[in-house]
């Protein structure tokens, strides 16, 4: 991942990133038609790809498809409005259903992608510093939020390790029911490993006096870059304009 660390999404300060994420989320929720939502999705995807390199990898995209496609099909078949495009007995596909299914599916994609990008490209210590030093958020709450954000990379790391341990012991990828059973056991290992890691982190924080006092100091002061405020204002203005236009 280090090769991507010079990219702008990694370098951007966490406060600006949070504001931009909120802007994108507002737009995704506000837009009610498939075409502009698809354009927003394409812009977000390209921006993340450009800004962070390989963050949105194939496994994550697969996961999104597993959720997205069933949701799209369900919406397609249950929402009935506008022109009927296809009918077979009780089953009916309408233009309105198709539009609604596409909007909702793309919305899920956009919200997931931006959250994942924030989680993977943000140094959680920097986020805590920003929240506590600039926004005066209580440090216990800020750490809680930051650790929640680090859970995804932690889960990915545990998943890689758990799969490697199984493959190294000679387990081959199963098919059909066997694959389901393997996945269940594999997810169990990932879950156990992740819980253990979280317990370790909690124990280590406790042993180092985390939460002992109502305040704490910071070795590295958080400095908001000069470009941050103009970027945030630009993002907010653009969001307002798009909301008014659509």
């Amino acid at each position: 991942m280090d090769i991507n660390k010079h990219r702008w999404l990694y370098r951007m300060d966490p406060l600006t990133k949070i504001v931009l994420l909120l802007c994108v989320s507002v737009l995704a929720v506000h837009i009610q038609h498939a075409l502009p939502q698809a354009i927003l999705f394409a812009c977000v995807w390209l921006a993340i790809l450009w800004g962070s390199g390989q963050v949105i990898g194939r496994p994550l995209f697969k996961l999104l498809l597993v959720i997205g496609i069933p949701y799209f099909v369900l919406s397609l078949l249950t929402v009935r409005s506008g022109t009927v495009l296809w009918q077979a007995g009780a089953l009916q596909i309408t233009a309105g259903g198709m539009d609604y299914g596409a909007v909702m599916t793309l919305r899920i994609f956009i919200l997931c992608m931006t959250s994942v990008a924030l989680s993977l490209t943000t140094d959680y210590r920097e986020l805590v510093s920003a929240l506590v030093q600039k926004l005066r958020v209580p440090y216990r709450f800020a750490y809680g939020l930051a650790l929640a954000l680090t859970f995804l990379p932690l889960l990915r790391e545990e998943a890689t390790l758990a799969l490697a341990a199984r493959r190294l012991r000679g387990e081959r990828r199963g098919r059909g029911l066997e694959a389901i059973r393997q996945n269940r056991e594999y997810l169990g290992s990932v879950f156990t490993g992740s819980i253990r890691r979280i317990q370790h982190i909690a124990g280590a924080m406790d042993a180092k006096g985390f939460g002992a006092y109502t305040e704490r100091t910071f070795y590295r002061p958080f400095v908001l870059p000069a470009s941050a405020i103009p970027t945030m204002i630009t993002g907010l203005i653009l969001t307002a304009i798009v909301c008014i236009l659509l």
Binding site: L168, R169, G188, A204, Y219
Partner: protein, 544 residues
């Protein structure tokens, strides 16, 4: 020096959540202010539990039932407000990964002092001093998960020392370190203690820290068995300590000491390589002949003759693995982790892989096992280039023992963990039972390593040494041409090491090739044919 008690444990009993038997049974131990007590006990004796009772994590975080009195600086750590405890007591557990709070080395060292509300300038001074003393300056800005095991251990120790507590409880603080690193850490802890501060160290074997302590407490089955001044205890109770697997059956510790002192005379550059470079196969062989209560001499001779390269047929001399000009650089790293490595591993022999922390040992084993993808035309199995092989393909001919056994667990119980590989090999479905023949092999193996009674326990609930044995047993049950063991004897008592050596001997007799990563070559030289040393990614080979 000895004054008011700093730590008092009186008639303490403790049982873990869900367990019917107490791990600690009527323990009484008093540590005076300014005293250094070294707790020594074989694997499963309860040392780590005692450490966690002192720092209050048991039963506060992990539950369980505690009885009796525990007092640190006059208050009960299980119920003390966190601020009160952290001001006086710093603790370091056995697993450095469990001590780190995800971040860079600098972040880890700053975390405790920040919580203690120290000003940034003071934190900076402490970080500068500790990174220098612990030789972490060059990795100061690196993420801790990218560091070697030894570097992580030094970071974890630095994070505790940065808080400058009045008392320290250190559980195996030097287990993953190379000999030079161990010596430096011992000196550092000594300097800290010389300021009049209280210290408890815990270890599975009698080590340098025990020799330096004011008093040793020998722990067995959760109780203090022996207590006294180190030299006296060692002299008067040697036989008893040997039967407890705390001391080797003869003077391997003196050989280790002489090796370490010779290492101390090396130049700075040589020191980064590790002491093992100066050790010959003959001296190591001599040390092992006198060492642990290990497999009998006849058995060793048989294994050694099987491992003797000259006694092997031409077919047997065909290398199991050939490494040709292997160089490897991690993505984004400025320097290569390995440079132009040439090595062949032959059947029926054990090769030791040594070198300082961060020299590239684990990287090499991960490339060999398939955990990392090697570059093309560098690692061959026969004539087959392995660079495109997936992990399950590698698993057919390679068994890999992780540096930390917890990374290896794939099942919920000790029995299932041990049988997992056999079930995978036989392609058994969940409802299909393991055939009687294989089932009895699992049973025999668990009996051999002393874990049959704990067959239904979770692998996570075992002691450090038991985990190492289970992890090794699960691998050695599978017959593979190549076994890679990453620091299998780290923080293990002599019982664990003896059982590990037996398993290694069996594999060598079967004609397998073993690559053992270790900071303690003297423990494995009994069966070893060669010793390779890595220095900043470059390899030198010391043949027999």
């Amino acid at each position: 020096m000895v004054s008011d008690p700093a730590i008092v444990l009186q008639d303490v009993q403790y049982r873990y959540e869900g367990s019917s038997t107490a791990v600690i049974q009527g323990l009484s131990l008093t540590v005076a202010s300014g005293e250094w007590v070294a707790m020594i006990g074989a694997s499963g004796s309860g040392k780590s539990t005692i450490c966690r009772l002192i720092n209050g994590q048991l039963p506060r975080l992990a539950g369980g039932q505690r009885e009796g009195t525990v007092q640190v600086h006059g208050f009960d750590p299980a119920f003390a407000p966190p601020g009160e405890l952290v001001d006086v007591l710093g603790t370091l557990g056995q697993d450095p990964d469990a001590e780190l709070v995800v971040g860079t080395v600098e972040d880890e060292l700053a975390f405790g002092p920040e919580n203690l509300r120290l000003p940034a300038t003071e934190i900076g001074k402490r970080i500068d001093r500790l990174t220098e003393e612990l030789e972490l300056e060059h990795v100061r800005s690196q993420a801790v998960h990218r560091l070697s095991g030894g570097q992580r251990q030094r970071t974890a120790l630095g994070a505790v020392l940065a808080m400058e507590p009045e008392m320290l409880v250190l559980d195996e603080p030097a287990a993953s370190l190379d000999p030079i690193g161990r010596k430096r850490v011992a000196q550092m802890i000594q300097r800290w203690h010389d300021q009049g501060k209280t210290l408890i160290t815990a270890s599975a074997r009698w080590d340098e820290l025990a020799d330096r302590a004011d008093r040793v407490s020998i722990i067995q089955e959760g109780k203090v068995l022996l207590e006294g001044e180190p030299a006296t205890i060692k002299q008067q109770h040697r036989e008893q300590l040997e039967t407890l697997f705390i001391l080797p059956s003869a003077s391997v510790s003196s050989i280790k000491r002489s090796s370490e002192s010779s290492a101390g005379e090396h130049s700075a550059t040589e020191q980064s390589v590790g002491l093992v470079k100066g050790m010959t196969m003959q001296s190591a062989q001599h040390s092992i002949e006198q060492s642990i209560a290990l497999p009998d001499a006849g058995r060793v001779m048989a294994v050694k003759s099987a491992a003797n390269p000259t006694a092997l047929s031409a077919k047997q001399r065909t290398a199991v693995v050939k490494i040709k000009q292997l160089s490897y650089t991690y993505p984004g790293a400025a320097l290569p982790a390995l440079q132009a490595i040439d090595l062949q591993l032959f059947p029926g022999e054990m090769t030791l892989l040594c070198g300082a922390n961060g020299s590239g040992k684990t990287t090499l084993t991960r490339l060999l096992s398939g955990l990392l993808q090697p570059p093309a035309r560098t690692i061959y199995r026969g004539v087959h280039d392995t660079y495109r092989d997936k992990l399950d393909r590698r698993a057919v001919d390679t068994a890999y023992l992780f540096q930390h056994p917890d990374h290896q667990w794939v099942a919920a119980t000790v029995w299932e963990e041990c049988a997992f590989g056999l079930r995978a090999q036989l392609r058994l479905r969940r409802h299909e039972e393991l055939p009687e023949l294989h089932s009895s092999r699992v049973e025999q193996m668990l009996e051999r390593i002393g874990l049959l009674e704990q067959r239904d326990a979770s692998p996570y609930s075992l002691s450090g040494g038991q985990k190492r044995l289970l992890a090794a047993a699960a691998q050695f049950l599978l017959e593979r041409p190549l076994y890679i063991l990453d620091e299998p004897g780290s923080a293990a008592d002599y019982f664990t090491i003896a059982r590990l050596l037996e398993l290694c001997g069996d594999a060598i007799q079967r004609g397998a090739s073993l690559l053992v990563v270790t900071h303690e070559p003297e423990l494995f030289h009994r069966y070893a044919s060669r010793m390779c040393t890595l220095e900043r990614g470059r390899m030198s080979i010391n043949p027999q």
